[in-house]
Structures are given as C-alpha cells and as structure tokens.
C-alpha cells in the first residue's frame, strides 16, 4: 500500500473529519451547516460535529483543492457559501475509502486476535 492510501494514525481525528465531509459532498452541493446536520442525521447521531470545528476543516480542504466554495445570493440580503467536490476531491475520497477499509481490516485483525 502506498503512502497516499495509508491512514496516519497520529492524525486520525483530522483524517476522519475530512473524509466524512468529502463523503457527504459526494452527494452534491452543501452549506457548512447542512454538512454537519446531514452527517449527524445519517449516522443516527453517532458523528456529531461541533460546528465550530467545521470551518477550519472546510477551509483547509478548499485550500488543498479538494472542495470548491462558491458564494451565492439567497434572497435580496443574504449571501451563502456552499461547497462542492472537485475532481481532485472525488479521486481523493475514493482513495481514502480504500484506505479506511484497509485500516479497519487490520485494526479488527489485531483486536480479534487479542480477544481470541
């Protein structure tokens, strides 16, 4: 497995948050609030994002070219920023899916060996 497909255990929480956001955006354009809400709803409340921590992650992903933020006018006075996945982000999300699968396979191998 090459480095791009490896989940770095020292940055587990960051990788997890980034990849969950990318996974939600695979379904289409979302605002920051919608992202957090959808993640919570789809995981039955298991993944509960502190909305405050969402922005650094979104802005980092935007800087890395994984997602694209676009400002749109909603009504006469309101402007909103919504995010979509870029091609690079789509490819990265696919790679990460494999990396997480591999991560948990190895994780459970060790856990189950220990419990056996």
């Amino acid at each position: 497995m090459d480095d791009a497909q490896r989940i770095e255990t020292q940055n587990l929480a960051r990788h997890c948050n980034e990849d969950l956001i990318l996974a939600i955006l695979l379904r289409g354009e979302r605002h920051g609030y919608q992202l957090a809400l959808e993640l919570e709803e789809r995981s039955g409340g298991f993944f509960r994002f502190n909305h405050g921590t969402l922005y650094p992650i979104l802005h980092k992903l935007e800087q890395d070219g994984m997602i694209r933020g676009t400002w749109k006018r909603e009504g006469p006075k309101r402007r909103r920023k919504s995010y979509t996945l870029t091609e690079k982000g789509r490819d990265y999300a696919a790679l990460q899916r494999g990396a997480w699968r591999d991560f948990f396979t190895r994780f459970f191998e060790i856990m189950e060996d220990g419990l056996r």
């Binding site: 605002h31 920051g32 609030y33 919608q34 809400l37 502190n50 909305h51 405050g52 921590t53 922005y55 650094p56 802005h59 980092k60 800087q63 909603e74 006075k77 309101r78 402007r79 909103r80 920023k81």
Partner: protein, 246 residues
Amino acid sequence: MNRFRGTLSRVSRKLDLPQPKKSRILLELSGDLNDAFDACLEQGMDEAEARRRVEAMFDLSDEAIDELVRVHDTALRKLLGAMSIEARTRWERALLVVLLAFIALAAGRPILSLGPFALAGPFVWPVAGFSLVALTAAIAQAYRLHIRRVYDTRRLRDGPAWILAAAAGCLASGFTGSTVEMSRAARVIAAGAERPLAAFIDGALAASAVMVVALLAGVLWAVVWSVLEHSAGRIAEAEVAWLYEE
C-alpha cells in the same frame, strides 16, 4: 441588525486575519447561524431558546479560531508569528528606521537644492517640521493598516487627523512666511532703498518661494491623508459589512 451580533463580534475580535478574508469567514458563519436558527424555530422552539441552542452548537473555541487563522495565514505572517513578540517588534522598528533613512537620503538632498527651497529662507523650517509630523503619522498609520493589520474600527482614523493638521500647519507657515517676506520688502522700500524695484522683486521671490514650498508640502500631505483615509474607510466598511449582510 444581525441577531448573532454578539457571537460574531467575539469571533471577529479573536480572528487575527486581514480583510477581506475575515469578513468572508464571518459572513459564512453568520449564514450558517441564521440557517440553524430557522431550523430550530421550525422545530417549535421560541426565539430565545433557538438562539441559546444555536450559540451552543456554534461555540467556536479559541483552538478552532487559532486553527482557522493558521489555515488562512500567509507565509510572511506565519514567519512573523513564529518570532517572539519582542523579536518581531525589534525587526519591524529596525525596518521602519531603514526605510526612513533611505527616504531621507534619496529624496532630501535633491529636493532641498531645488530653486524654491533655496530661496524660501528660514520659513522653510516650520514647513519641514510640520512635514516631519505628517511623515511620522503617515508611517504609523500605514504600519497599523498594512503591516500589523490590527483593526479596531473605533481607532482606525486616529492617526490621519495629525497628517491633515500638519498639512494645514504647512499652509499656515507658508502664508505667514510669505506675508513676512513681503512686509520686509515693503519696509526696505519705505526706508528709501536705493533700488526699490530690485527690493520688491527679491521680496516677491522669497514670498512666492516659501508659498510654493508650503503649497507643495500641504498638497502632498493632503493627498497622503486622503489615501490613508480611503484605506481606513475600506477596512472599516469591510469590518462591519457582515452586520448588514451585504
């Protein structure tokens, strides 16, 4: 008025980023806060309860704000941030001194050798004094707005008033100097000068020279004041834009 003004003001104070990045982040946050508020109202909460709930949901901790600053910081600001405050202040002061010395050396001698400056007589010194005050105020304001980038909307326009006052001082010195030079020539002629026309021309030359120097300085500082005022105005506008959801 934005109903989450308190939350946004708190974040704004801590978010040490230049405009327009800061306003964009606050605008994005403001949109999400209002969306969450509307969702809470739809769930049947009253306004006070919805606001409390949303503020708890969007509690931007100091760590989250620091992380946002880190994400958006430029390479130069990251380098400055890595230095201690004392070291940074020392470097910034040293750079300003070098800049001032360079300006004084490069521009001082050629300007002083120009005709009007050579003819202006002692009244060029008050003009130079006022110009020094204006230069100091202009550098301090430019440093605050464009290098340090710590924006306090209540104090954004504190510095430029000194520049305008110094520009007025230059003009007043020029007018006084011009009047003194002309009255001196008049006294010489009245005392029975051998060549009254030459005395009058000498007086008029000195008076116009001091007036030209004062006008040049006055106009220059007025332009600098106007540029810095415009700059401060733009920053102040961007700072409060999110309040009106522009």
